[in-house]
Symmetry: C2
Subunit: 302 residues, 2 copies
């Protein structure tokens, strides 16, 4: 059991973060500034937008403007969520180089969230994968509810492995395993990763933890012990938990970076620059960063 | 590397918690009610008061009234901090069965906090230990700054081991290792525990983590992997961090219990009863619980 030398961080705040901030329509220029600041802090993978119907997710209605508006930086991948072919075509038109699709490990969650079975959701991705491949766009896959479901409770790790494998066999280059409601603890995370790793090599897996129950950093440490080296996180913990009022959602990038630095794991990212970006974007949203590291260290005095 | 089957939780909120809540003098009756509620939730070790000069720590000026006022419960140890012989005599008079003394692993912290060298602080405990032994009172030892000091920065694990060993040789039955400013990360915690464990058996060590940088649960998981089975925590995360404004201090008991339950480790404590107690005491203090588990689960609706 040895920890990785370096970790690739996948930044979620512009998409998974802002999409789940209640009651605010963030101006396009602010989103663009956020993405550019994150890239300047050293981030190499930023999920920048979601190409979904603005009827369902009004917060992401300006996805094309965001993607075409950002000053692209060499070495940075700007990705977008594309749940269907229409979204993918818009993403391709906006010069998106990488997209993402998602499926749930819980049948009940799939029904409530996207109104279809898991199998149906996977079927619908087939034309998306084919078109992405044709256009030379890489596809990342998300599996949600990997450590628990708000409707079904515990989720069998074998079920997670099946869904992850299905996305992987469809052609996703990397599968991000999401504890959508943040209920996991370290041994559950390890058992789930073991089950998935019997189907997919560890270096093609990522973890996406939520800190709703304060366990995300511990789960992440356990995942690193298992050999995980790609980690999703959201600056300032942007993106509340829609299933528990007032509770936190995405693990804060600042807290993840502090852990990784303490473990001697390289990310290439400037923690203080991320903290400052977190203070700036949360001020725009009228609140303070949901990161303990940000609260303890404070912003730069410049 | 296997996790313990059960963990003994050492509850800190009435002392380390309330002592560090800024600006409030909690009524004696409220303290007594808190301690009794914690015992009713299944806690077996509660640090209930501190016998120090009220000139220095006005929040603890009613220590004797608290200790004599509580309805003692069979099987529960109510301990108190006694930094000197005078405090110990008052504690004995108040029928305290267990006391605690403390030393820093950082010379600078010792100077700033108690105005003497580490060696002087240890010397001063000699008569305290002798008198406690004579009175049949057990003594617990705290070492502070074991993973970092606000003045010195990093602390050599060997230095921690020396101070811990000195307290142990003075007669402390258990040494609680405190990350006073919450700066530690899991590998640093492991290295520190390894160093101390070369001097003292693991089953006579406890960990006392602060969550200032959001790492306490991860550090705790790493400590459990090392064989630690006694854990200090504070309901609702009571006790802010005096060294970083607005930042959290003690790790919340609720978050610790959630971790332990998820790992299948028994504590004998009712998590929901602790959550409810946390909501009650923080309402008395005019705030909300500093526990993510409490925020996510909410209080009982009865």
């Amino acid at each position: 059991m040895s920890l990785p030398d370096s970790v690739r961080l996948f930044e979620m705040s512009p998409r998974d973060g802002l999409q789940n901030e209640p009651g605010t329509l963030v101006p396009t220029a602010t989103k663009i500034a956020l993405i550019e600041r994150l890239a300047d802090a050293g981030m190499t993978h930023i999920e920048a937008a979601s190409f979904v119907s603005p009827r369902w997710v009004p917060q992401m209605g300006d996805a094309s403007d965001v993607m075409t508006g950002i000053q692209r930086k060499e070495g940075v991948t700007y990705s977008a969520l594309t749940p269907n072919l229409k979204g993918l075509e818009s993403a391709i038109a906006a010069r998106v180089e990488e997209v993402a699709v998602f499926a749930a490990a819980s049948e009940a969650f799939s029904h409530k969230n996207i109104n279809c079975t898991i199998a149906q959701s996977l079927e619908r991705f087939e034309p998306v994968m084919a078109r992405a491949s044709e256009a030379g766009v890489r596809v990342r896959g998300y599996v949600s509810c990997v450590l628990g479901c708000p409707y079904e409770g515990d989720i069998d790790p074998e079920r997670v492995a099946e869904v992850a494998k299905a996305l992987w066999e469809l052609g996703c280059y990397e599968i991000s395993l999401g504890d959508t409601i943040g209920v996991g603890t370290p041994l559950k995370a390890k058992r789930m990763l073991d089950a998935v790793n019997r189907q997919i090599p560890m270096n093609q897996l990522a973890v996406h933890f939520h800190d709703t129950y304060g366990q995300a950093i511990a789960n992440l440490y356990a995942a690193l012990e298992e050999g995980i080296s790609v980690v999703d996180a959201s600056t300032a913990g942007l993106g509340g938990c829609p299933y528990a009022q007032g509770a936190s959602g995405n693990v804060a990038t600042e807290d993840v970076l502090y852990l990784l630095e303490g473990l001697g794991i390289n990310t290439g990212i400037d923690l203080q620059a991320v903290i400052d970006t977190g203070y700036w974007i949360t001020a725009e949203l009228g609140r303070t960063p949901g990161s303990r590291v940000a609260q303890a260290k404070g912003r730069s005095h410049t």
